[in-house]
């Protein structure tokens, strides 16, 4: 029961994404914002929603140690099940852990080929087979277009979806969609299928779904409470 209630809080669903976008193998999503606005917290919420749907999540962090990433999950999960921390909540949390794997890298030691060989290792040995991958902390300033194209092919072949955090900077005047499309290089602007922007707005953080194509649909945007980094349920615009 608790599980079903929590699934209803799926942030991607609330933003109007359909299963064609969120579940198609090889699809890329990006959560973009300036530093410190809440990319990790939002990605963790996407991951928890997937875990609740019995999907295996591989969380890759290129900045935080395992313990810190684990703490993010714990905090976000128990924020989600508020107000009480019941035995049922704890049991559900324990069961989710078996479907999550955290992998962290030091910035200087990370490259996408190393990552794919690690994933291959996990799969071959039947240790873990991801269905959703979160890549948090990948630098958006280095030219990585060809790597991303290969990674997309790899994700399609291996049947998983990848969400990235993309850090934008004050000096970047282009809108996040352009910045993200540039990650794929000039000829691959359709590398990403879903883009979400987090924007600080007064005392809240606005969560905006950005259009990648000429899309006339009016997508809802959401609000995050900066004190908990959770979606505000009553604040869908």
């Amino acid at each position: 029961m608790l599980k079903n209630q929590l699934i209803l809080k799926d942030p991607l669903n609330s933003l109007g994404f359909g299963t064609e976008e969120t579940e198609k193998a090889g699809n890329f999503g990006a959560v973009a914002s300036r530093a410190g606005v809440g990319k990790t917290a939002f990605l963790v919420q996407i991951a928890i929603s997937s875990l609740l749907k019995n999907k295996n999540v591989l969380h890759i962090s290129i900045k935080d140690p395992v313990e810190k990433v684990n703490l993010w999950y714990k905090e976000m999960f128990f924020n989600l099940t508020q107000p009480s921390r019941t035995k049922q909540d704890k049991e559900l949390w324990e069961s989710l852990l078996t479907r999550r794997f955290i992998m962290t890298f030091e910035t200087e030691n990370f490259d996408l080929s190393k990552l794919t060989s690690r994933i291959d290792g996990l799969k071959t040995q039947n240790i873990f087979s991801p269905q959703l991958i979160i890549i948090d902390g990948l630098s958006s300033e280095e030219p990585i277009a060809s790597d991303l194209i290969r990674l997309k092919e790899y994700a399609t072949r291996n049947n998983f979806i990848i969400w990235f955090s993309v850090r934008t900077h004050r000096h970047q005047t282009a809108d996040p969609v352009t910045i993200i499309q540039q990650l794929g290089g000039n000829d691959n602007s359709d590398l990403f299928n879903m883009v979400i922007q987090l924007l600080p707005e007064k005392e809240m953080i606005q969560v905006k779904r950005l259009s990648l194509i000429q899309d006339t649909a009016n997508h809802p945007s959401l609000l995050l409470d900066p004190s908990t980094m959770m979606l505000k349920e009553d604040a869908v615009n």
Binding site: V66, N70, L97, T98, E106, Q125, I127
Partner: protein, 694 residues
């Protein structure tokens, strides 16, 4: 002890087992005039090296427990803490690393960076201990110190840079060239005690120049002044170069490398010089204590001798004058005749005798000031206790002591061994709060319990070696626990009226699972249906059922008992009757409350070279482990997992063979979790077998 605190060094000597660290320590003591003869580690002369004071260490030529020894070198006071080279002795390692400020990493010039060097290096990294490296055994066939420096860089990720180069190698080792003074240094006399300084031999001038350039280049990162001097091509003074190397070392950004041969007495004095010059003084290290009144919040200690005392006991030894307690003072002064508080017990302790230790010999002093290490006599305490001035309630170690998760029975073979075993167990449980011992009421066996298989193995070995105990050790058993999962009512009448005085008591209420406590008893009886004087008998009755659960015979935890009704008889009711009624009620409800078995689950962290990480993860998977994650750290990967303790027996051997001895693991208790059904059946079968075989 009149030296300024800047000239104090508390150092550890860490190394692979056969790298010669005990020989090096022995030579340090010889050159600092603390001993007047040199013994070999394995004791051909039957004496053994001075630092290895425990019999076991003498015999094996290895160091297990840390001893501290004090010496002076060129107006610097050096406390050498002999650190264990084995990662299994966690409490020893943690205490030793806590107490020292810097370390000398000893490497063999032939063997290079070996698996144990990786282990000890990781310990130092974990505790952020700055170090210098000494490449020993340069007199051996196949010696190649430069290859070892490369390995330090590649395998340990050290920014290692030579501050010396050898003059000759293997049998031709004559001395070293000091790249800071650019002079050749020779060690003359029977024990290399006479230092002769000469110009660099012509044949080595070019190598020395190029190596010095490398050194200056590496050191300049830590000093703008040195960088400027390099850019302006002005002369680089020794002082400037030393200061830059020191800065780099203190930040763990640079590892200066010295070399020589401890056995042949070549280069030892320069290792002491390097310890003085590059390793931190107590003032260079930030030390923290935990504020007991503020939920163990960290408090930074000042290191000032005028502030309230904070001192940590880190080792106990039995001496001819009673218990000897090694202590490090972090703040304030500990003074003979004064009283201080043992934070753990809250009791005042008067200090009788204070000594400075040199392995088995000692020197009486009146006080120990902040930054220094010494030992106390006649103080009743356990290892890891903190002494403070009254009203300054901080502790150097967490007051939380985890419950043991594994136990085994030990039996002495004869009467002499029995009395020695009692002495040993008493000592060990004082030294290590996670090691417990008791006599089982049922089997009358002595049970020892601790935090892991290796933990207990070490103590068994120490009993055999140090205390000459001949003993038989049983199979280790995991501390399983039973608990209930459902709230269940009970209503039980205990009635016995057959001859003699009768017994009558009725107890009604319910039991329910709880998370936060092991046992809660609540009395909700109204109207005197159970007279007040029998309520505590009811509680006692329930409590007596918890030691051994009715289902699997393991302790029952996480249970709340609420009594809300009952009945008594004016003549036949008694304390005994209500205790029996409570026991009956417990038995009645327990199985309906759907008991489950919980097992200890350990947090296991494995540090392994990259190439083995797949196999290591596989081995954890096979052991019902849940991998939390992996952390890529250059050539090494650290894997964190939660694994049931029952599956970890013998894992160190498995890991060693799987990774060619290059991986290491630490294990600590994490939580209790429900045993899966398939495993439960196995345990039930084992228990049945045990019962049948008696």
């Amino acid at each position: 002890m009149e030296t300024s605190i800047q000239k104090v060094r508390n150092i550890g000597i860490s190394a692979h087992i056969d790298s010669g660290k005990t020989t090096l320590t022995e030579r340090f003591l010889y050159f600092t005039k603390k001993i007047h003869r040199i013994h070999e580690v394995k004791g051909k002369d039957g004496v053994g090296a001075t630092m290895d004071s425990m019999e076991l260490e003498k015999e094996r030529g290895i160091t297990i427990a840390s001893a501290a020894t004090y010496c002076q070198w060129k107006n610097y006071e050096i406390n050498i803490i002999d650190t264990p080279g084995h990662v299994d002795f966690t409490i020893e390692v943690e205490r030793a690393l806590r107490v020292l400020d810097g370390a000398i990493l000893v490497l063999c010039s032939v063997g290079g960076v070996q698996s144990q060097s990786i282990t000890v290096d990781q310990q130092m990294k974990r505790y952020n201990v700055p170090c210098i490296a000494f490449i020993n055994k340069c007199d051996r066939n196949g010696a190649n110190p430069f290859r070892v420096i490369e390995q330090l860089k590649e395998k340990l990720n050290h920014n290692a840079v030579a501050i010396q180069i050898p003059i000759g190698l293997e049998a031709d080792l004559e001395g070293v060239i000091d790249l800071i003074s650019m002079k050749a240094v020779y060690f003359d006399g029977a024990f290399g005690e006479t230092i002769r300084i000469e110009d660099i031999p012509d044949a080595l001038i070019d190598t020395a120049k190029s190596k010095r350039e490398e050194l200056v280049d590496a050191a300049s990162v830590f000093s703008d002044e040195l960088t400027d001097a390099v850019l302006e091509e002005s002369e680089i003074s020794e002082k400037l170069l030393v200061s830059a190397i020191r800065q780099g070392t203190l930040q763990r950004g640079l590892t200066p490398v010295v070399m020589g041969s401890a056995y042949k007495n070549k280069g030892i004095q320069l290792v002491l010089d390097a310890a003085n010059l590059y390793l931190p003084s107590p003032l260079d290290v930030k030390n923290e204590a935990l504020d007991i009144d503020k939920n163990e919040e960290p408090v930074t200690l000042t290191g000032n001798k005028n502030d309230p005392l904070v001192a940590l006991t880190f080792k106990l030894e039995d001496g001819q004058f009673g218990q000897l307690t090694y202590i490090r003072v972090y703040q304030g002064v500990i003074q003979k005749g004064e009283s201080y508080v043992n934070v753990r017990t809250g009791k005042k302790v008067k200090i009788g005798r204070i000594v400075l230790m040199h392995a088995d010999q000692m020197e009486d002093v009146d006080k120990i000031e902040a930054g220094y290490i010494g030992a106390l006599f006649g103080v009743d305490c356990v290892s890891g206790d903190t002494f403070t001035s009254p009203d300054f309630k901080v502790s150097m170690t967490s007051m939380f002591v985890p419950e043991p998760v594994i136990s085994l029975a030990v039996k002495a073979k004869d009467i002499k061994s029995e009395s020695n075993m009692a002495k040993a167990l008493n000592r060990f449980s004082k030294e290590d709060p996670t090691f417990r011992t008791f006599v089982s009421k049922e089997t009358n066996e002595t049970i020892i319990s601790g935090m892991g298989e290796l933990h207990l193995e070490v103590y068994i070995e120490r009993m055999r070696r140090e205390y000459k105990v001949e003993l038989i050790a049983g199979e280790p058993s995991v501390a399983y626990r039973e608990t209930i999962t459902q709230s269940t009512p009970f209503n039980y009448i205990h009635k016995k009226q057959t001859g003699g005085s009768g017994q009558y008591g009725r107890v009604a209420g319910f039991m329910e699972p709880i998370d936060e406590d092991d046992f809660i008893f609540e009395n909700k009886v109204t109207g005197g249906s159970i007279p007040t004087q029998f309520i505590s008998a009811c509680e006692k009755g329930f409590l007596s059922c918890l030691d051994k659960g009715p289902w699997m015979k393991y302790p029952v935890t996480g249970i709340k008992i609420v009594i809300n009704d009952g009945a008594s008889h004016s003549v036949d009711s008694s304390e005994m009757a209500f205790q029996a009624a409570a026991r009956g009620a417990f038995q009645q409800a327990y199985f309906k409350a759907q008991p489950v078995l919980h097992e200890p689950v350990m947090k296991v962290v494995i540090e392994t070279p990259d190439e083995f990480q797949g196999n290591v993860m596989g081995s954890l998977n096979q052991r019902r482990g849940m991998i939390i994650g992996s952390q890529d750290e250059g050539n090494m990967t650290s894997i964190e997992a939660q694994v049931p303790l029952a599956e970890m027996f013998g894992y160190s051997t498995v890991l060693r063979s799987m990774t060619q001895g290059k991986a290491q693991f630490t294990m600590e208790f994490s939580t209790y979790k429900q045993v899966p059904k398939s495993v439960l059946e196995e345990i039930e079968k084992k228990n049945d077998k045990k019962t049948k075989t008696g």
